[in-house]
Symmetry: C2
Subunit: 376 residues, 2 copies
């Protein structure tokens, strides 16, 4: 196996697949990157127990030759050392592997030798059924990930809650995440020949989001027995699915709210952020909301018995229903939800001091957040 490759392309590709390569693994081979040199492309693969990332580098990019393959073949090289050395090289990289898996990496007058692994020992990629897929814009997928993954459970006690539930039904994708105290839901219309409900680890989705990095293209989504596969022109991420049944959330969404108010999203976010100053003293980051002045002002406050107290009032733009309300919420949950709402105004629907609060952007009906109150 032997090839010469553009330094920048090679560094970026190694950095991408490195995200999946395992630093701590009982299987040394998984700490490596598999490199396959074909006549017409180079393929790099990194994997761990949750995700597999595959990157394809073609011979040319924008009409310029970036890769010349002199001898086809494959090898597995330590991900850590390969990345550390290649990123520090000054120019084109010349990589050769002899029959004993001894790797020589040369650039200008710099020569590095590494012991490689036999690539036959590296696990195979899951097989994709190309007949059923969904196509989604990368930007929309990144937005969905941002708007849902934060709300998953951090505890492994109920594994299904550590993932995002992605349901494809009648050309509609619904993504839900919850940790039992708060819930994020996002819906999207799209053309899909996939049907079914899948639980994808939030960590995989966050990795995917970093990999896509505002790439403006389209993603094809495939599903295999135990993987969901996200595929662009040059990169594929295979995410393990979480087994189990996701809780049915339809009954959780509140009906008949007692009070509905609209407020400025960013102003509320800033106010809650300030109120969290003393909230961190409490187990549930208690921040208190109170409707005042006959329904025209929202008071936000938090206090600590030993240190002090903070309060401010903000304008309520519109109010429907009862004008008398006090409720305590987890300030961090509020901040997380408000941060991912792009719209300038939101609607807060209250069912009473002990009922969950529904937060929705006023001119976007396809996503919502639900937060349970805490005892004050």
């Amino acid at each position: 196996m032997e090839f010469i490759i553009d330094h920048e392309c090679f560094t970026k590709a190694i950095s991408d697949v490195n995200r999946a390569a395992s630093l701590k693994t009982p299987f040394p081979i998984l700490s490596g990157i598999k490199i396959i040199a074909n006549h017409n492309c180079l393929i790099l693969i990194g994997s761990n127990s949750d995700i597999v990332i595959e990157k394809v580098i073609p011979l040319t990019s924008e009409g310029v030759t970036i890769l010349e393959v002199y001898e086809t073949g494959s090898v597995v090289i330590s991900a850590k050392y390969l990345y550390e050395i290649v990123k520090k090289l000054p120019a084109k990289v010349h990589l050769r592997v002899n029959e004993k898996q001894f790797v020589t990496i040369q650039s200008d007058e710099i020569v590095t030798n590494l012991y490689g692994f036999h690539s036959e020992e590296y696990p195979n990629l899951p097989q994709i059924d190309e007949a059923h897929f969904t196509k989604i814009s990368s930007i929309e997928l990144i937005e969905i990930i941002k708007q849902t993954t934060f709300a998953v459970s951090k505890s492994e006690s109920r594994p299904v809650l550590t993932g995002v539930n992605m349901s494809f039904k009648e050309n509609r994708l619904t993504c839900v995440s919850t940790n039992s105290q708060r819930l994020a839901l996002r819906e999207l219309a799209l053309e899909s020949s996939i049907n079914g409900s899948f639980i994808v680890p939030s960590t995989s989705l966050n990795e995917l989001s970093k990999l896509l990095n505002n790439d403006s293209g389209f993603i094809h989504i495939f599903v295999t027995d135990s993987y969901m596969v996200f595929k662009t022109n040059s990169i594929s991420l295979f995410s393990r699915l979480i087994e189990g049944n996701y809780p049915n959330i339809t009954g959780l969404l509140p009906t008949n709210p007692k009070t509905i108010i609209t407020v400025d999203t960013n102003q509320l976010l800033m106010g809650i952020d300030r109120a969290c100053l003393f909230a961190s003293e409490w187990k549930h980051n208690n921040v208190h909301l109170e409707i005042n002045n006959n329904g025209t002002r929202l008071k936000i406050s938090s206090n600590s018995s030993e240190i002090g107290r903070i309060e401010e009032t903000q304008q309520i733009k519109t109010i429907k229903g009862e004008t008398d309300l006090r409720i305590s919420l987890d300030g961090n949950f509020l901040i997380d939800a408000l941060k991912v709402i792009k719209e300038e105004e939101i609607r807060l629907s209250f069912g009473g001091a002990m009922r969950p609060v529904l937060i929705e952007p006023i001119d976007h009906s396809s996503y919502l957040h639900l937060i349970s109150p805490v005892r004050s």
Copy 2:
């Protein structure tokens, strides 16, 4: 005590003195910032066992009123909470303290209350003898700090070695730091009415460097019984001195080198950085240097028995003396020294494989680095 102050100035000042305020201290009052409102200025003080930072805010800045004092007085307020709240306020800050040390901080419709401490309990500033001082440009002082503090000892076993030895003698400042395996020395001519040798903790100097932050003014340096004081127009840093005698280093500087070579500084830095890839496996980050090709090429290499080997050769610009040399050095020590040399070319003087290497910029005789070899 009562004043109204510009939000940006107040935030910056609190952030500056906060560097000294102690997060972990057996004396709760030292976790606070002392604020003194005078008729003509506001003074903020933060301190810990090593440093005291004092910041003075005048009534106006560049002709604009930034401070209005309505009632003089003083108070101590939790540094953590004061900073956290003030940085998040949207506008001018109105601060009042009542006779019970109850502090009210108001900005627009945001009201915060904090319990303050009696300021009488806060330790007094050390007295400065203004008769003896040294004046130095901030940029030069920052450079000296950068070129010496990295080489101090990280171990507390010999406390004097954790500081930089600053000697003022006949209008000459000499700064030396060493951890016994490497040494950095920097000299500077300046006018000084201070004479004597002082050991300043490297941590204080690093804090000072961050505080000055490329400020282009001048620093006045004073010395008290147990403090060195660095003073600009608006800010003073008092650093505790380390007691004890600093080792005499004059005998350490090598004489009669066997080989002297000159090489490109940045190219050598990049080469050593690459060679460190395998050096980290060794206790002393062993990187090997070897003069080859009849004194025209410098080979840089490192290897690991299990993973691999890296080597490269670089051009030697000039050579004097023996053209045969092999030596092993701590790669990280080399990187630290090369990083702080601004000049494009350096001279390396070798006394043999077991003698320290002297590194100097070729056109700057006032600073040098000395590194002891390691056994390969």
